[in-house]
């Protein structure tokens, strides 16, 4: 049993196609391991019985031409899954059962995959440590009482702990890449417009993107193929030529120009992060690619820009959670009272904080100074990237300014928590693709990630670079199964 869950997605797909394993066997293995791993608290909703049923049905009439034939998969609880509770990690949706499916998950089921359950995440995707979920904290399988990162903390933990062979998360300011870095896994945030946002609980509409979270780059590429489609139900979905990313995956990146942005060398840059970065630079050279020093002058303004734009959009996107049509409703003496009680009881502290910030920066008298200003700075940030992409093909940076920290360590200091996203946020603001791969360990033995940022719609290129580096790095995630008694 345990051997099955050690396999990568690609291996499992091959084994099922070669009829060495049945879907039922694979599904059972992941269910058993998941059931032993409740201490990690990665699941909000388990759909095991139904998963087993589907697996058996698949085995009776297997379609082995599919890309994910009979593969069990859990997904972040931000994706609406038909008839399965979808909570966004919040009390206000704790009883919400959608009657519709998100496009991204539908794409996954269309390729033969089977839903295991819904994974824990920061409430409404707002957080960097999975400590804001109504359903409790998630444990990082790397070590006890360690945060897995966020908001896709449950997803990252589940992959690292091998409770699901692969999964999808969402990334608005780093919510895929940062937890990937904290858990020693691979996380890709595709170009904005690459994956449909239809059916994904919206946080910040101009920043949100779904993406794969996997054990290795090849798996990641395969899932990206499946989930990235043009969707006419999403006005921001882009119709561009999408590759079969896994088939075109190559480790040959000779001659590629990789930029190293000096502004990412922040004040008080931790020594091990700088070392990791230098190692990364060396790996790139070893692969035959060229290193070029570049400048992204407005980098330091990215985080403040993000913390205006994202809360502003969120304050409006979350206005629909009012207790009228669905979700939690508190008793109120009149309509306004009902709204105020519902939302103050239904939303957690971080979500309330961000809604307030967002409401304020859009309010009369402040719009120009904050929101409009932030959108202008965002243009400058994007221009920075457009400029350097005339000289380089991709950019290499660390994924996070530190390794995973202890649960509770940063909870009381919002700004300190926000700083986790310092390297990832500019990528969302510019709408570019970015991938985090595990590249080393810190003194405590916790994983550290490197980020490769690409040109818009150039996922293949960054996947290739990641693939080549992954081979050189030969990273081994140290999972000790400490939570399994």
């Amino acid at each position: 049993m345990s051997d099955i869950t050690k396999k990568s997605l690609s291996e499992l797909v091959k084994d099922i196609k070669d009829k060495k394993l049945s879907s039922e066997e694979v599904t059972k293995a992941f269910i058993e391991r998941s059931e032993k791993s409740k201490e990690l608290n990665v699941y909000i909703t388990e759909d095991y019985a139904s998963a087993l049923d589907k697996a058996k049905k698949f085995d009776q009439k297997p379609n082995l031409d599919l890309k994910l034939p009979g593969i069990p998969m859990a997904v972040k609880d931000l994706f609406c899954t038909k008839d399965i509770k979808t909570t966004a990690g919040s009390k206000i949706l704790s009883n919400f059962v959608p009657t519709y499916e998100s496009t991204v998950t539908q794409n996954i089921w269309n390729e033969g995959a089977i839903l295991l359950g819904k994974l824990n995440c920061d409430e409404f995707a707002m957080g960097s440590s999975n400590e804001t979920s109504f359903f409790g904290n998630v444990q990082n399988p790397i070590d006890k009482n360690l945060v897995p990162g966020g908001s896709s903390g449950g997803s990252a933990s589940a992959v690292a702990a091998q409770l699901t062979p692969i999964t999808i998360g969402t990334d608005t300011g780093g919510s895929i890449r940062q937890p990937a870095s904290f858990t020693g896994t691979v996380g890709l945030k595709p170009t904005y417009g690459s994956c449909s946002r239809y059916g994904i609980v919206a946080f910040a509409s101009s920043l949100d993107q779904a993406g794969p979270m996997a054990q290795n780059v090849k798996d990641c590429a395969l899932l990206q193929e499946v989930i990235s489609t043009f969707d006419s139900k999403d006005s921001t979905s882009i119709d561009f030529k999408r590759n079969d990313y896994s088939k075109k995956l190559t480790n040959n990146i000779k001659g590629k120009k990789i930029g190293i942005p000096k502004e990412y060398r922040i004040d008080d840059m931790p020594k091990e992060i700088e070392e990791l970065w230098q190692n990364g630079i060396q790996y790139v050279k070893d692969c035959g690619a060229e290193i070029i020093d570049i400048s992204l002058p407005h980098t330091s303004y990215a985080l403040p820009t993000y913390y205006i734009v994202a809360p502003a959009e969120a304050s409006s996107n979350l206005a629909r959670y009012d207790g009228v049509k669905y979700g939690f409703r508190a008793k109120g003496e009149n309509l306004i009272d009902m709204y105020e009680k519902t939302r103050s009881e239904g939303f957690g502290a971080e979500v309330q904080r961000r809604i307030m910030i967002g409401t304020y920066v859009l309010s009369s008298g402040y719009y120009d100074a904050y929101y409009l200003k932030a959108q202008k700075v965002r243009k400058l940030i994007k221009n920075d990237f457009d400029e350097v992409y005339k000289k380089v093909d991709a950019i290499l940076t660390p994924s996070t300014p530190s390794s995973a920290f202890k649960i509770g360590e940063k909870k009381d200091d919002p700004v300190s928590m926000y700083l986790n996203d310092i390297f990832t946020v500019p990528v969302n603001l510019a709408g570019l693709p970015g991938i985090s791969i595990p590249a080393g360990h810190d003194v405590k033995g916790y994983p550290l990630g490197l980020q490769i940022i690409g040109k818009a719609f150039d996922e293949q290129n960054i996947l290739n670079i990641a693939y080549a580096m992954e081979e050189k790095i030969a990273f081994k995630n140290k999972i000790t199964d400490w939570w399994i008694k």
Binding site: F96, V97, T99, Y192, S206, S232, S235, T236, I238, H298, S300, Y301, L303, P304, Y307, I308, S315, A319, D322, G323, V324, K325, Y326, G327, F328, R329, G332, E333, N334, L335, I336, D337, M338, Y339, E340, R343, S344, F347, Q352, R353, I355, M356, I357, T359, Y360, S363, L372, K373, A374, Q375, K376, V377, R378, K379, L380, K382, P414, V415, Y418, G431
Partner: protein, 95 residues
């Protein structure tokens, strides 16, 4: 700029989230430290910069005028907290 309790009250009303007295102070403190951090943007001169209007460099796709969503009242009302098959029911607004 500083966020005081009066501002908290104002934003709380605009966003329809009630804030208890005890929590208001802490909230103001949190928001102030966040805004101090955001103030950094004032270092930049942006008078001649166009705001980013859309990340995707494309324009709105238009759809044809067809009725595709039929009567799904049951689905729509299914999740609502009150027990009425035809309408959404909410407490009255005080006039």
């Amino acid at each position: 700029m500083s966020i005081d309790l009066k501002t908290i009250k104002h934003i709380s009303k605009l966003s329809r989230i009630s804030v208890e007295e005890q929590k208001a102070e802490k909230l103001a403190g949190d928001l102030n430290s966040i805004f101090d951090f955001i103030e950094k943007l004032n270092e930049l001169k942006t008078e001649n910069v166009e705001p980013l209007t859309s990340i995707a460099e494309t324009t709105l796709k238009l759809r044809s005028d067809e009725v595709k969503s039929k009567n799904i009242r049951e689905q729509i009302i299914k999740n609502s907290p009150q027990d009425n098959e035809d309408y959404f029911v909410v407490p009255k607004v005080i006039e």
